[in-house]
Symmetry: D2
Subunit: 187 residues, 4 copies
């Protein structure tokens, strides 16, 4: 009988796959930084890295990584049956399963993530641009969308987190002010 | 140079794939009939068949058929790499790429299609139930969701069409009434 | 100048709105229990409650609650302009904005949440059924979908959590076994 | 008893609403042209207009127009209850119901439409940019997303149509060639 695959195994396999295909967490964090720095000029790269790592902990994105990269590799090895082989190999413009698969995990981070994904899909940045070159024998039809999905999700997660932090700060200031006021009153 | 695959080739391949995997248009139309007959007791099976055929003309669903069945067959042949092989082979409960891929084409038919898809995913009917048996060596992890997606899309398309027809009828009656009224006035 | 609304205000308003419209967290947890107990017969209601509460912490669902209930109330007061007033008041079958709005937050919990939402939309359970009665002057066109969305999200969240707990238990057992083995060896 | 609203009434109301809020079909077609001309330099504006008009025939988008503009107008008149009033009036960055509502109809045109919508949401073009100015008393929190959704859907529809036309042309040429060949053989 086949047994259920442990989450750790899935997680590790997904991270290894990304690495083997030449995509680092740092490169994805660069895209996140690029997307969010205009909203917060003093943004630290570490926060972007942490956000990418958090997104990569989700089962939904790990599964998408495994499926997408598998199809890319099979296309590279000419092991898909026709006409799917040609469609994936040429990254055919009206083929949408790559975006659909990637969208599945983007949805998890709300509508900001979805629109950011759409933006990255058109304005390919950083590693996404490199993956999309179509110059060698490598096929990255699915991977470029998956990387865009991770970056978009991490950017959306970060936007929500920054707001939460801001509010927490304000709350503390308020609390501080009230405290000082009390002190003065007391004084 | 690789050339763009002609739509006809994609269409034919998708329809053949379905057939090879034991799914007929008639079986999908049965599910559509079952879903819609309670809203329209005198529903004709032909309308369901026509709706399934119309849905199958869409590139989005044809691509999903090609990708989904390819992954099922590769899993049957034990040709996927681990842990994806085990995940697909066991139709692992928390694996969502099968639903995600199918949802991509369901969206094309509006929110009614999405909710109907969700319903079919739980209350597996007809051929979907058979595909989901997990009793032999066959793997239908992706196919059952794709069939549910086609049926849900066709049911939603039909619901919209029936409303349009109803309205067109009413309009004709009104026109008729107005005409009779004119006649009477004239008479 | 208008200032940004604090998350706490949004959160509190959303929870109050639900309550004012007669929906309790307990009623939603009942639906979650009903959905998940077949997968885990010894499921505790508390876990369902906790999952509903966690879902209600999300901005996305809080916003959907505020918008949806606002539209329901405006329709009750006959304050929407026509033909929207009639469409919302009659919960018109082909109107999909209620499902769409609810889907936005369901997506956050993966494809299992989406299919569960679709199922609940057809097989209205518990409080959803009551909301959907259309017998009085109350309009719940948006609210029934929003409650279905919260329940579906909480059920999906719970399914993922139960798996995580199961795995953590297995890991501990393994660790325990290895430890015993070591002890024996040592002994 | 309330009766079902006729499609024609919904259609007309939606088109009027757009017009009243200062959005013309021509302005939306300009965005579509701008999006697609790089793929087809000899693109005719008429094809863009026709595609926008076809998208506007869909119930899903008509309903979204009615709901979205209603909420914008209610916010302008300060008739929404707090905190929704402030959230909509300020077009609050983390509020996603506007994008969600718009996405519902974008999905109908496939994943290309979704990514194009995301792109337009960031790179606001033409009339979308004007709507998003936030300089007067007008509130267009929902409308800018709805216009982006119509433009994205029309662009995706056009991309599919252009491919179909291209293929039909090729088929005719082939048929022509085969015919000539036959003639030569015959000759």
């Amino acid at each position: 009988m086949l047994k259920v695959v442990h989450s750790k195994v899935v997680r590790e396999a997904a991270l290894n796959r990304l690495k083997e295909r030449g995509v680092t967490i740092d490169q994805i964090a660069d895209i996140v930084y690029d997307l969010q720095v205009s909203y917060k000029p003093d943004l630290k790269k570490e926060l972007c890295l942490e956000s990418v790592e958090a997104v990569l902990e989700k089962r939904e994105i790990q599964h998408a990584i495994l499926v997408g990269i598998e199809l890319d590799i099979l296309a590279e090895k000419k092991m898909l049956s026709e006409p799917l082989q040609s469609i994936v190999e040429t990254d055919e413009g009206l083929f949408g399963c790559d975006e659909t698969l990637a969208l599945g995990s983007v949805f998890g981070y709300g509508s900001i993530a979805v629109t950011t994904f759409g933006y990255l899909d058109k304005e390919k940045k950083g590693i996404i641009k490199q993956l999309n070159k179509h110059d060698g024998k490598e096929v990255h039809t699915f991977l470029d969308d998956i990387v865009a999905s991770i970056a978009a999700s991490a950017a959306s997660r970060l936007a929500h987190k920054l707001r939460d932090d801001e509010e927490a700060e304000q709350d503390q200031e308020h609390a501080g002010n009230r405290f000082s006021a009390h002190e003065e009153e007391a004084g």
